[in-house]
Amino acid sequence: MSDDLEQYSFDFHHESAQIVRGEADDELKVKIGDFAGPLDLLLFLIRQEKANIFDIPIARITEKYLEYIRLMKQLDIAVAADFLVMASTLIEIKSKMLLPPDPHSGDDEGIEDPRQELVDRLLEYEKFKTAAGMLYERSTVAQATFTRGQIESDQNNAEINATVFDIFSVFQKIVARHVEEIKMEIHREEISLTDMLRTLKRRILEHGELSLLTFFEEMHTRRELVTAFIAVLEIVRTESVKLLQNETFGDIVLKKSEPPAVAGG
Protein backbone atom coordinates (compact mmCIF):
# COMPACT_ATOMS: atom_id res chain seq x y z
CA MET A 1 0.00 0.00 0.00
CA SER A 2 2.65 2.43 0.98
CA ASP A 3 4.61 1.32 -2.05
CA ASP A 4 1.96 2.91 -4.21
CA LEU A 5 2.82 6.29 -2.93
CA GLU A 6 6.27 7.35 -3.79
CA GLN A 7 7.39 10.47 -2.10
CA TYR A 8 9.62 12.63 -4.20
CA SER A 9 13.02 12.48 -2.63
CA PHE A 10 13.67 16.17 -2.13
CA ASP A 11 12.28 16.31 1.37
CA PHE A 12 13.22 19.89 2.26
CA HIS A 13 10.60 21.22 -0.04
CA HIS A 14 7.13 21.08 1.40
CA GLU A 15 5.26 21.27 -1.84
CA SER A 16 7.62 18.77 -3.35
CA ALA A 17 6.60 17.15 -6.55
CA GLN A 18 4.79 13.91 -6.04
CA ILE A 19 3.79 11.19 -8.36
CA VAL A 20 1.02 9.00 -7.04
CA ARG A 21 -0.14 5.77 -8.57
CA GLY A 22 -3.87 5.74 -9.13
CA GLU A 23 -5.81 3.06 -7.29
CA ALA A 24 -7.70 1.40 -10.12
CA ASP A 25 -5.20 1.67 -12.89
CA ASP A 26 -1.49 1.90 -12.75
CA GLU A 27 -1.44 5.06 -14.68
CA LEU A 28 0.67 7.73 -13.08
CA LYS A 29 -1.14 10.65 -11.66
CA VAL A 30 0.76 13.79 -11.09
CA LYS A 31 -0.19 15.43 -7.86
CA ILE A 32 1.98 18.46 -8.19
CA GLY A 33 4.10 18.85 -11.26
CA ASP A 34 6.59 20.97 -9.45
CA PHE A 35 9.95 19.68 -10.51
CA ALA A 36 12.62 22.35 -10.56
CA GLY A 37 13.51 21.44 -14.14
CA PRO A 38 14.04 18.57 -16.58
CA LEU A 39 17.24 17.42 -14.85
CA ASP A 40 15.37 17.30 -11.58
CA LEU A 41 12.66 15.16 -13.16
CA LEU A 42 15.26 12.87 -14.74
CA LEU A 43 17.03 12.32 -11.44
CA PHE A 44 13.70 11.48 -9.88
CA LEU A 45 12.87 8.95 -12.60
CA ILE A 46 16.31 7.35 -12.43
CA ARG A 47 15.93 6.92 -8.70
CA GLN A 48 12.38 5.70 -9.01
CA GLU A 49 13.49 3.06 -11.50
CA LYS A 50 16.35 2.21 -9.14
CA ALA A 51 18.66 2.67 -12.08
CA ASN A 52 22.40 3.29 -11.99
CA ILE A 53 23.17 6.86 -12.97
CA PHE A 54 26.37 5.70 -14.70
CA ASP A 55 24.45 3.17 -16.77
CA ILE A 56 21.09 4.77 -17.44
CA PRO A 57 18.57 2.41 -19.09
CA ILE A 58 17.89 5.11 -21.62
CA ALA A 59 14.91 3.50 -23.38
CA ARG A 60 13.02 2.93 -20.15
CA ILE A 61 13.83 6.35 -18.70
CA THR A 62 12.89 8.08 -21.95
CA GLU A 63 9.58 6.29 -21.95
CA LYS A 64 8.87 7.32 -18.35
CA TYR A 65 9.95 10.85 -19.09
CA LEU A 66 7.62 11.19 -22.08
CA GLU A 67 4.83 9.64 -20.06
CA TYR A 68 5.28 12.33 -17.46
CA ILE A 69 5.28 15.10 -20.05
CA ARG A 70 2.07 13.73 -21.57
CA LEU A 71 0.47 13.69 -18.12
CA MET A 72 1.48 17.25 -17.49
CA LYS A 73 -0.19 18.23 -20.73
CA GLN A 74 -3.32 16.24 -19.94
CA LEU A 75 -3.55 18.01 -16.63
CA ASP A 76 -3.10 21.34 -18.37
CA ILE A 77 0.15 21.98 -16.58
CA ALA A 78 2.14 24.28 -18.81
CA VAL A 79 5.11 22.27 -19.94
CA ALA A 80 8.13 24.52 -20.08
CA ALA A 81 10.10 24.44 -23.31
CA ASP A 82 13.13 23.18 -21.41
CA PHE A 83 11.29 19.94 -20.60
CA LEU A 84 10.65 19.42 -24.30
CA VAL A 85 14.26 20.14 -25.18
CA MET A 86 15.29 17.40 -22.76
CA ALA A 87 12.73 15.04 -24.29
CA SER A 88 14.31 15.47 -27.71
CA THR A 89 17.78 15.04 -26.22
CA LEU A 90 16.67 11.74 -24.68
CA ILE A 91 15.19 10.52 -27.94
CA GLU A 92 18.37 11.47 -29.75
CA ILE A 93 20.52 9.54 -27.29
CA LYS A 94 18.17 6.58 -27.49
CA SER A 95 18.42 6.43 -31.28
CA LYS A 96 22.20 6.81 -31.20
CA MET A 97 22.39 3.83 -28.90
CA LEU A 98 20.36 1.74 -31.30
CA LEU A 99 22.88 2.36 -34.08
CA PRO A 100 25.60 -0.23 -34.43
CA PRO A 101 28.95 1.21 -33.37
CA ASP A 102 30.68 2.91 -36.26
CA PRO A 103 33.78 0.77 -36.94
CA HIS A 104 35.65 3.68 -38.54
CA SER A 105 35.33 6.09 -35.66
CA GLY A 106 36.92 3.82 -33.08
CA ASP A 107 40.26 5.18 -31.96
CA ASP A 108 42.33 4.18 -28.95
CA GLU A 109 39.93 5.63 -26.43
CA GLY A 110 37.06 3.69 -27.85
CA ILE A 111 33.66 5.03 -28.78
CA GLU A 112 32.14 7.58 -26.52
CA ASP A 113 28.94 6.59 -24.80
CA PRO A 114 26.14 8.81 -26.17
CA ARG A 115 24.89 9.10 -22.60
CA GLN A 116 28.12 10.54 -21.24
CA GLU A 117 27.28 14.22 -21.63
CA LEU A 118 23.91 13.75 -19.99
CA VAL A 119 25.45 11.87 -17.08
CA ASP A 120 27.98 14.65 -16.56
CA ARG A 121 25.23 17.23 -16.53
CA LEU A 122 23.15 15.21 -14.10
CA LEU A 123 26.06 14.79 -11.71
CA GLU A 124 26.95 18.47 -11.92
CA TYR A 125 23.31 19.47 -11.42
CA GLU A 126 22.87 17.17 -8.44
CA LYS A 127 25.70 18.88 -6.57
CA PHE A 128 23.87 22.20 -6.78
CA LYS A 129 20.59 20.60 -5.89
CA THR A 130 22.22 19.26 -2.73
CA ALA A 131 23.76 22.67 -2.09
CA ALA A 132 20.26 24.16 -2.38
CA GLY A 133 19.16 21.78 0.37
CA MET A 134 22.05 22.95 2.52
CA LEU A 135 21.00 26.57 1.98
CA TYR A 136 17.48 25.66 2.97
CA GLU A 137 18.68 24.14 6.24
CA ARG A 138 20.85 27.14 6.97
CA SER A 139 18.05 29.63 6.39
CA THR A 140 15.79 27.71 8.75
CA VAL A 141 18.39 27.98 11.50
CA ALA A 142 19.21 31.61 10.70
CA GLN A 143 15.55 32.54 10.85
CA ALA A 144 15.28 31.30 14.40
CA THR A 145 17.16 34.38 15.60
CA PHE A 146 15.84 37.91 15.69
CA THR A 147 17.53 41.27 15.74
CA ARG A 148 16.50 44.21 17.80
CA GLY A 149 13.34 46.20 17.26
CA GLN A 150 13.27 49.80 16.13
CA ILE A 151 15.15 52.29 18.26
CA GLU A 152 15.05 56.06 18.11
CA SER A 153 18.26 56.55 16.16
CA ASP A 154 17.01 54.33 13.32
CA GLN A 155 14.46 56.91 12.29
CA ASN A 156 17.09 59.39 11.23
CA ASN A 157 18.24 56.88 8.73
CA ALA A 158 15.11 55.59 7.04
CA GLU A 159 16.72 55.55 3.66
CA ILE A 160 17.49 53.07 0.97
CA ASN A 161 20.64 51.04 0.73
CA ALA A 162 20.73 51.19 -3.02
CA THR A 163 22.21 48.73 -5.46
CA VAL A 164 22.57 48.98 -9.23
CA PHE A 165 19.40 46.93 -9.50
CA ASP A 166 17.55 49.61 -7.52
CA ILE A 167 18.80 52.27 -9.91
CA PHE A 168 17.52 50.20 -12.77
CA SER A 169 14.13 49.28 -11.35
CA VAL A 170 13.49 52.80 -10.07
CA PHE A 171 14.22 54.09 -13.55
CA GLN A 172 11.80 51.58 -15.06
CA LYS A 173 9.11 52.71 -12.64
CA ILE A 174 9.64 56.36 -13.53
CA VAL A 175 9.42 55.59 -17.23
CA ALA A 176 6.21 53.62 -16.68
CA ARG A 177 4.76 56.43 -14.56
CA HIS A 178 5.75 58.93 -17.22
CA VAL A 179 3.93 57.01 -19.93
CA GLU A 180 0.85 56.87 -17.67
CA GLU A 181 0.97 60.63 -17.15
CA ILE A 182 1.21 61.37 -20.83
CA LYS A 183 -1.87 59.23 -21.37
CA MET A 184 -3.74 61.14 -18.69
CA GLU A 185 -2.57 64.44 -20.05
CA ILE A 186 -4.39 63.81 -23.28
CA HIS A 187 -7.68 63.48 -21.43
CA ARG A 188 -7.30 66.44 -19.14
CA GLU A 189 -8.85 69.80 -19.92
CA GLU A 190 -6.25 72.47 -20.23
CA ILE A 191 -6.23 75.53 -18.04
CA SER A 192 -5.85 78.86 -19.86
CA LEU A 193 -3.18 81.45 -19.15
CA THR A 194 -5.85 83.90 -17.96
CA ASP A 195 -7.14 81.38 -15.40
CA MET A 196 -3.61 80.56 -14.35
CA LEU A 197 -2.76 84.25 -13.84
CA ARG A 198 -5.89 84.73 -11.74
CA THR A 199 -5.01 81.72 -9.57
CA LEU A 200 -1.44 82.88 -9.17
CA LYS A 201 -2.44 86.42 -8.13
CA ARG A 202 -4.89 85.10 -5.57
CA ARG A 203 -2.29 82.76 -4.12
CA ILE A 204 0.32 85.51 -3.74
CA LEU A 205 -2.18 87.89 -2.18
CA GLU A 206 -3.24 85.26 0.37
CA HIS A 207 0.09 85.25 2.20
CA GLY A 208 2.03 88.06 0.60
CA GLU A 209 4.39 85.48 -0.84
CA LEU A 210 4.36 82.10 -2.56
CA SER A 211 6.94 79.37 -2.95
CA LEU A 212 7.49 78.77 -6.62
CA LEU A 213 8.32 75.15 -5.88
CA THR A 214 5.00 74.65 -4.10
CA PHE A 215 3.11 76.30 -6.91
CA PHE A 216 4.81 74.29 -9.63
CA GLU A 217 4.33 71.06 -7.75
CA GLU A 218 0.58 71.58 -7.89
CA MET A 219 0.68 71.32 -11.66
CA HIS A 220 -0.43 67.99 -12.98
CA THR A 221 0.85 68.03 -16.51
CA ARG A 222 3.75 69.39 -18.40
CA ARG A 223 1.50 71.80 -20.26
CA GLU A 224 0.04 73.13 -17.02
CA LEU A 225 3.56 73.57 -15.79
CA VAL A 226 4.51 75.56 -18.86
CA THR A 227 1.39 77.74 -18.48
CA ALA A 228 2.23 78.26 -14.81
CA PHE A 229 5.74 79.24 -15.74
CA ILE A 230 4.57 81.78 -18.32
CA ALA A 231 2.10 83.13 -15.76
CA VAL A 232 4.94 83.67 -13.29
CA LEU A 233 7.02 85.53 -15.90
CA GLU A 234 3.99 87.59 -16.79
CA ILE A 235 3.17 88.52 -13.22
CA VAL A 236 6.74 89.52 -12.45
CA ARG A 237 6.70 91.73 -15.54
CA THR A 238 3.35 93.38 -15.00
CA GLU A 239 2.69 93.38 -11.28
CA SER A 240 4.50 94.44 -8.11
CA VAL A 241 5.96 91.04 -7.53
CA LYS A 242 9.61 90.06 -6.97
CA LEU A 243 11.40 86.79 -7.48
CA LEU A 244 13.71 85.91 -4.60
CA GLN A 245 16.21 83.09 -4.45
CA ASN A 246 18.69 82.69 -1.61
CA GLU A 247 20.94 79.85 -2.72
CA THR A 248 21.74 78.17 -5.98
CA PHE A 249 19.45 75.19 -5.52
CA GLY A 250 17.19 76.86 -2.98
CA ASP A 251 13.52 77.47 -3.50
CA ILE A 252 12.39 80.60 -5.35
CA VAL A 253 9.82 82.77 -3.63
CA LEU A 254 7.38 85.15 -5.28
CA LYS A 255 6.97 88.16 -3.03
CA LYS A 256 4.68 91.13 -3.27
CA SER A 257 7.01 94.12 -3.66
CA GLU A 258 6.99 97.08 -1.32
CA PRO A 259 5.78 100.09 -3.30
CA PRO A 260 9.17 101.90 -3.41
CA ALA A 261 10.85 98.85 -4.85
CA VAL A 262 8.71 98.78 -7.93
CA ALA A 263 10.97 99.00 -10.89
CA GLY A 264 9.86 100.78 -13.95
CA GLY A 265 9.50 98.38 -16.85
Partner: protein, 184 residues
Protein backbone atom coordinates in the same frame (compact mmCIF):
# COMPACT_ATOMS: atom_id res chain seq x y z
CA UNK B 1 -3.09 18.64 26.19
CA UNK B 2 -4.67 20.74 28.91
CA UNK B 3 -3.56 24.28 29.32
CA UNK B 4 -1.73 23.53 32.54
CA UNK B 5 0.22 20.80 30.85
CA UNK B 6 1.03 22.84 27.79
CA UNK B 7 2.54 25.54 29.96
CA UNK B 8 6.08 24.50 30.57
CA UNK B 9 7.21 25.63 33.94
CA UNK B 10 10.18 27.87 33.42
CA UNK B 11 13.09 28.40 35.76
CA UNK B 12 13.73 31.98 36.87
CA UNK B 13 16.83 32.13 34.67
CA UNK B 14 14.81 31.01 31.64
CA UNK B 15 12.14 33.59 32.32
CA UNK B 16 14.75 36.35 32.68
CA UNK B 17 16.30 35.33 29.35
CA UNK B 18 12.92 35.31 27.63
CA UNK B 19 11.96 38.69 29.04
CA UNK B 20 15.29 40.05 27.82
CA UNK B 21 14.72 38.67 24.31
CA UNK B 22 11.20 40.12 24.09
CA UNK B 23 12.18 43.57 25.34
CA UNK B 24 15.01 43.45 22.77
CA UNK B 25 12.88 42.61 19.73
CA UNK B 26 9.96 44.89 20.61
CA UNK B 27 9.68 48.06 18.54
CA UNK B 28 8.26 49.99 21.45
CA UNK B 29 8.60 49.86 25.22
CA UNK B 30 6.84 46.70 26.32
CA UNK B 31 4.66 46.65 29.44
CA UNK B 32 4.79 44.14 32.24
CA UNK B 33 1.17 43.34 31.42
CA UNK B 34 1.92 42.46 27.82
CA UNK B 35 4.95 40.38 28.80
CA UNK B 36 2.78 38.48 31.28
CA UNK B 37 0.17 37.79 28.61
CA UNK B 38 2.59 36.68 25.93
CA UNK B 39 4.53 34.41 28.25
CA UNK B 40 1.45 33.26 30.15
CA UNK B 41 2.99 34.14 33.51
CA UNK B 42 1.84 36.07 36.56
CA UNK B 43 2.62 39.76 36.47
CA UNK B 44 4.54 39.42 39.73
CA UNK B 45 6.83 36.84 38.14
CA UNK B 46 7.45 39.13 35.18
CA UNK B 47 8.08 42.13 37.41
CA UNK B 48 10.61 40.11 39.40
CA UNK B 49 12.31 38.89 36.21
CA UNK B 50 12.60 42.42 34.79
CA UNK B 51 14.03 43.64 38.07
CA UNK B 52 16.52 40.80 38.11
CA UNK B 53 17.47 41.58 34.50
CA UNK B 54 17.90 45.29 35.16
CA UNK B 55 20.18 44.71 38.12
CA UNK B 56 22.16 42.15 36.13
CA UNK B 57 22.83 44.83 33.48
CA UNK B 58 23.73 47.25 36.25
CA UNK B 59 25.98 44.78 38.01
CA UNK B 60 28.06 43.83 35.02
CA UNK B 61 28.46 47.49 34.00
CA UNK B 62 26.92 46.75 30.62
CA UNK B 63 26.96 49.34 27.85
CA UNK B 64 23.20 48.90 27.81
CA UNK B 65 20.49 49.42 30.38
CA UNK B 66 16.99 48.21 30.99
CA UNK B 67 14.90 51.27 31.53
CA UNK B 68 11.27 52.00 32.22
CA UNK B 69 9.80 54.48 29.83
CA UNK B 70 6.21 55.35 28.93
CA UNK B 71 5.00 52.63 31.25
CA UNK B 72 7.01 49.93 29.49
CA UNK B 73 10.47 48.38 29.43
CA UNK B 74 13.14 49.11 26.89
CA UNK B 75 16.80 48.37 26.25
CA UNK B 76 18.87 51.49 25.62
CA UNK B 77 22.50 52.50 25.68
CA UNK B 78 23.83 53.76 29.02
CA UNK B 79 23.64 57.50 29.43
CA UNK B 80 27.37 57.95 30.15
CA UNK B 81 28.21 56.54 26.72
CA UNK B 82 26.02 58.91 24.77
CA UNK B 83 28.89 61.00 23.50
CA UNK B 84 30.58 58.06 21.78
CA UNK B 85 27.30 56.65 20.58
CA UNK B 86 26.28 59.95 19.05
CA UNK B 87 29.63 60.29 17.36
CA UNK B 88 29.24 56.83 15.88
CA UNK B 89 25.74 57.52 14.62
CA UNK B 90 26.99 60.64 12.89
CA UNK B 91 29.97 59.05 11.23
CA UNK B 92 28.34 55.84 10.14
CA UNK B 93 28.89 55.32 6.48
CA UNK B 94 25.94 56.67 4.62
CA UNK B 95 25.54 54.49 1.61
CA UNK B 96 21.89 55.28 1.70
CA UNK B 97 19.76 57.54 -0.42
CA UNK B 98 16.21 58.80 -0.13
CA UNK B 99 13.74 57.59 -2.75
CA UNK B 100 13.68 61.05 -4.37
CA UNK B 101 17.48 61.08 -4.65
CA UNK B 102 17.52 57.54 -5.95
CA UNK B 103 14.95 58.37 -8.63
CA UNK B 104 16.86 61.44 -9.71
CA UNK B 105 20.10 59.49 -9.75
CA UNK B 106 18.47 56.78 -11.87
CA UNK B 107 17.28 59.33 -14.42
CA UNK B 108 20.71 60.97 -14.57
CA UNK B 109 22.47 57.60 -14.85
CA UNK B 110 20.37 56.45 -17.79
CA UNK B 111 19.82 59.77 -19.57
CA UNK B 112 23.13 61.54 -19.09
CA UNK B 113 24.06 64.17 -19.92
CA UNK B 114 20.73 65.56 -18.80
CA UNK B 115 19.46 68.97 -17.70
CA UNK B 116 17.23 69.84 -14.75
CA UNK B 117 14.18 70.58 -16.98
CA UNK B 118 14.69 67.23 -18.69
CA UNK B 119 14.79 65.45 -15.33
CA UNK B 120 11.60 67.29 -14.36
CA UNK B 121 10.06 66.16 -17.63
CA UNK B 122 10.83 62.52 -16.88
CA UNK B 123 10.25 62.41 -13.13
CA UNK B 124 7.25 64.73 -13.22
CA UNK B 125 8.38 66.41 -9.99
CA UNK B 126 10.97 68.99 -9.06
CA UNK B 127 14.35 67.47 -8.31
CA UNK B 128 16.30 70.48 -7.05
CA UNK B 129 16.99 69.24 -3.54
CA UNK B 130 17.74 65.72 -4.75
CA UNK B 131 20.27 67.12 -7.24
CA UNK B 132 21.88 69.10 -4.45
CA UNK B 133 22.15 65.95 -2.30
CA UNK B 134 23.66 63.99 -5.18
CA UNK B 135 26.18 66.76 -5.90
CA UNK B 136 27.09 66.91 -2.21
CA UNK B 137 27.62 63.17 -2.17
CA UNK B 138 29.68 63.51 -5.35
CA UNK B 139 27.58 60.90 -7.11
CA UNK B 140 26.90 63.29 -9.97
CA UNK B 141 28.89 66.08 -11.60
CA UNK B 142 28.12 69.02 -13.87
CA UNK B 143 28.90 68.18 -17.49
CA UNK B 144 28.86 71.56 -19.21
CA UNK B 145 25.95 73.53 -20.57
CA UNK B 146 23.49 72.44 -23.18
CA UNK B 147 23.49 74.63 -26.30
CA UNK B 148 19.83 75.44 -26.17
CA UNK B 149 17.57 78.22 -24.88
CA UNK B 150 18.81 79.29 -21.46
CA UNK B 151 21.90 77.10 -21.79
CA UNK B 152 20.92 74.88 -18.86
CA UNK B 153 23.58 72.91 -16.98
CA UNK B 154 23.83 69.24 -17.82
CA UNK B 155 24.54 66.53 -15.26
CA UNK B 156 26.08 63.10 -15.43
CA UNK B 157 27.31 60.44 -13.02
CA UNK B 158 30.76 60.69 -11.45
CA UNK B 159 33.64 58.31 -10.94
CA UNK B 160 32.42 57.94 -7.33
CA UNK B 161 29.12 56.72 -8.72
CA UNK B 162 30.89 53.88 -10.50
CA UNK B 163 32.90 52.99 -7.39
CA UNK B 164 29.84 53.22 -5.16
CA UNK B 165 27.78 50.84 -7.28
CA UNK B 166 30.66 48.56 -8.19
CA UNK B 167 30.66 49.32 -11.91
CA UNK B 168 33.69 49.27 -14.16
CA UNK B 169 32.12 51.75 -16.54
CA UNK B 170 28.69 52.99 -17.53
CA UNK B 171 28.18 50.17 -20.01
CA UNK B 172 27.84 47.90 -16.99
CA UNK B 173 24.59 49.55 -15.98
CA UNK B 174 21.80 47.04 -16.44
CA UNK B 175 19.75 47.61 -19.57
CA UNK B 176 16.19 46.68 -20.37
CA UNK B 177 17.48 43.80 -22.48
CA UNK B 178 19.14 42.28 -19.42
CA UNK B 179 15.85 42.06 -17.65
CA UNK B 180 13.47 41.49 -20.52
CA UNK B 181 12.87 37.91 -19.47
CA UNK B 182 12.76 38.82 -15.81
CA UNK B 183 10.04 41.42 -15.98
CA UNK B 184 7.39 39.30 -17.62
Amino acid sequence: MEAAEVKRSRSIAELVALVEALIFVADEPITTKLLAEVLDEEREAIAAAVEELASEYEFRRSGLQIREIAGGWQIATRTELHEDVRRFLKTRPSAKLSLASLETLAVIAYKQPVTVPEILEIRGVQSASAIKTLLDRRLIVAKGRKETVGRPMQYGTSKEFLVHFGLKDLSELPSIEDFEDLVQ
